[in-house]
Subunit: 243 residues, 2 copies
DNA sequence: GATACGCCATGACGCAGCGTCAGAGTCAAG
DNA sequence: CTTGACTCTGACGCTGCGTCATGGCGTATC
């Protein structure tokens, strides 16, 4: 039988946390002294281990209680769900990193008094995009979202996308259907979906076509990642979409 | 001048949030009607855009206020810090995913009534490790942490590590100093550091030597990722450590 | 026996970033 | 005048504890 102090020292869990877990019914001590001190035995310690394991995996404490208390709980499914959730989080964070790097790259000083960065070329892009995929629902969605942002933000997004293309440029002499390139395509799709418009595989493929079309898009991208990047991106996207 | 409702519709921010931002002094409306309704003008809308931009990057609201209110604030540094923080989070989540997959792979049913999974081999491992790097501080740290875990947890960790080696096995015919392999080495180091013991480059290199040594380690890893995986891992680690 | 010091207990408040009522005032339309 | 949509403020809830505040034990020292 161990006191809170001992258990805390053994497991690294704070005393307050042990008290809290007792309060919310997650982990009751095995017994109490006459004066009400909590006492833990091996069984409760084992339970604590389980709790800490699932807690590390960022399960909410409520769920942990369910998982541990019901022996016929489908832990496999719970784990899979949690893995899926963690993967989502990871992708989200990756997008944020790209966005932040796009922001940083464009020189943060001009974030408020924005004016450089060749907005004219962005307009060309927009015009070309309009011509290419006209009034698709995705384009309307894009316009919707874009008008809710400042110039600076749109530029940052654009910049971040170019950052992804730059990453592609770095590996443009490797296999476009290789895992690295495919990973970047996934990243691109996730980024667009999160910040610009819903980017289905079809839409993505359309983008790929546009990139390789030889127009300003192609040039803009090659200027970013080096000659041949646009073509490489198209090939990678094509492979990604299974075409 | 727009009402809360309009601003909310335009930006997707909830009315409650606008009220909250007013309360904490993050975003005051430009003015009020006689009856006290909040009214926002273009300037306040622009400020809101800024807020949302930084909020998306997971800056705390307090920091956002500082960043926006002090024009001489070093946004570049703030962004870099945030990027570093996000990268840390990402790495942490990657580790969790590996851990969870390790858990799932070992068959979660045996998580509580643990017994299979050839514990004997794990003991061999431990013995060999003891012989190889004896009483280094890292090994003591490992023992410290290990005795605070259940058998099931340790097995899950072991399994997760094997998962990383399995990933290496998949690319064992490519370049060990290529970015993919290097990424996996980074992942391995991060995983070990987080779950087992502080894994400096030197320690990592020691591990690499051990892996390629031809003993049970080599066999265990090759069994996991296919013949040659251990050697490949050693080469990748060697390149990673710049040796 | 009194005191001092350390460990333990409960209970309340605080944190971030809002969501969600509750109760009440406002505004334009019917 | 009433209805219904919109707004206000204030208070509580959520997660997972950290951090007091206040007070009861336990043991060693004076």
């Amino acid at each position: 039988m161990r006191t809170v102090h001992e258990v805390s020292a053994m497991t690294g869990v704070s005393i307050r946390t042990l008290q809290y877990y007792d309060n919310i019914g997650l982990l009751h001590p095995a017994g109490h002294t006459e004066s009400g001190y909590r006492l833990y035995d091996d069984a409760s310690l084992e339970r604590l281990q389980q709790i800490l394991l699932f807690r590390e995996l960022e399960f909410p404490l409520k769920d942990i209680r369910e998982i541990i208390d019901s022996p016929d709980f489908d832990r496999g499914r719970a784990l899979e769900q949690q893995i899926a959730l963690l993967k989502l989080k990871k992708e989200h964070i990756e997008n944020l990193i790209d966005l932040a790097q796009g922001l940083k790259a464009m020189g943060v000083k001009h974030l408020m008094d924005f004016e450089p960065f060749d907005t004219s070329r962005m307009d060309e892009y927009a015009a070309q995009a309009k011509a290419s995929w006209g009034k698709t629902p995705e384009y309307r969605e894009y316009e919707e979202k874009a008008k809710g942002r400042t110039q600076a933000e749109n530029a940052a997004l654009h910049n971040a996308m170019m950052g992804i293309f730059a990453e592609m440029g770095e590996i443009r002499h490797e296999d476009p259907s290789g895992p690295q390139a495919q990973d970047l395509v996934r990243k691109l799709q996730a980024f667009i979906s999160e910040h610009l418009y819903t980017c289905s595989d079809d839409v993505l493929y359309g983008l790929g076509l546009m990139h390789a079309g030889g127009g300003d898009f192609t040039q803009g991208i090659d200027r970013c990642g080096g000659d041949g990047t646009a073509e490489f991106a198209y090939q990678a996207i094509r492979a990604y979409c299974g075409k």
